[in-house]
């Protein structure tokens, strides 16, 4: 039954999108993190999607190939009274762009919903196929 492959395909997409949501959540949580004693602030992370062929022709799932780090320098704010300030009085914040992350979150949750609906449609079609010739 080739239709069963839909669950593999959409399932892989759902898990990839949920990993993307996870990464967005950790980026947003660390949006205001300042640099620790080592001088390194949190770096925003991004997932990299890749097509994964699943046996049958036309069945192409998704997987997260890598989770990359954003290497742009973090925001530096002059605040000598801050406990995290360095010798020059600057505080280094993480380089998370909150607006970008919010957009990313909406996109990920929409894609998640899309794939869930695909699975629901495939499930109802398969259930009707099981009743073939009975009604």
């Amino acid at each position: 039954m080739s239709m069963f492959k839909i669950f593999d395909v959409s399932g892989s997409a759902v898990s990839a999108q949920s990993q993307r949501l996870n990464v967005v959540a950790s980026n947003l949580a660390n949006a205001d993190t300042v640099a620790g004693p080592n001088g390194q602030a949190y770096k925003a992370r991004q997932v990299v999607f890749q097509t994964e062929l699943m046996g049958a022709v036309g069945a192409a799932g998704v997987r997260v190939a890598a989770v990359g780090e954003d290497n742009t320098p973090g925001r530096r704010v002059h605040d000598p009274k801050h406990p995290g300030a360095d010798a020059e009085g600057y505080v280094t914040y993480s380089n998370v762009n909150t607006v970008e992350e919010m957009v990313n979150m909406i996109s990920a949750s929409r894609s998640y919903q899309n794939n869930l609906e695909v699975m629901n449609a495939a499930k109802s079609l398969l259930l009707k196929t099981l009743q073939m010739g009975q009604s």
Partner: protein, 143 residues
């Protein structure tokens, strides 16, 4: 004799298999909506059905209406190997995209809904011919 009974079912079952295959193809496109570089694919249903059933009579009539719009959207094509695979086409992107992804979510969702309905229609055709076959086998006393 039994051949004649199942001949009408044969065509519908081929159509059902192709519908399931197209459903899987569309699911793959939707799954890869965010993958950079992914090129959406779709099936030329009419020619796939004609090749699967080996007729242009019934198959042509049923399949032609299905993909008039589909053909328009899918100009150039490239095959892969055997049977239904040779009827796969690459979808032309409706809008240019920086990451090279050519999945048009509106089109994919519309095709997906369309294909679901037609899959179910094929199922009902099969159920209908099975029922009429069973009715014909009944004795008059059974009602």
């Amino acid at each position: 004799m039994i051949n004649r009974l199942t001949d009408s079912l044969e065509f519908q079952s081929q159509a059902l298999v192709l519908r399931a295959e197209r459903q899987r193809l569309l699911a793959s496109n939707i799954a890869n909506a965010d993958t950079p570089g992914y090129v959406a694919r779709d099936m030329d249903f009419a020619s796939a059905l004609r090749a699967a059933t080996g007729t242009s009579g019934v198959g042509g009539a049923a399949g032609a209406a299905v993909t008039a719009a589909l053909r328009q959207a899918l100009p150039a094509g490239s095959g892969f190997g055997a049977s239904a695979e040779t009827h796969l086409r690459y979808a032309a992107p409706s809008q240019t995209n920086l990451d090279g992804n050519s999945v048009d979510m509106d089109r994919e969702r519309a095709s997906f809904a369309d294909n679901s309905v037609k899959y179910e229609a094929t199922l009902r055709f099969i159920n209908g011919s099975v029922r009429s076959m069973l009715d014909a086998m009944k004795s008059p006393q059974q009602g």
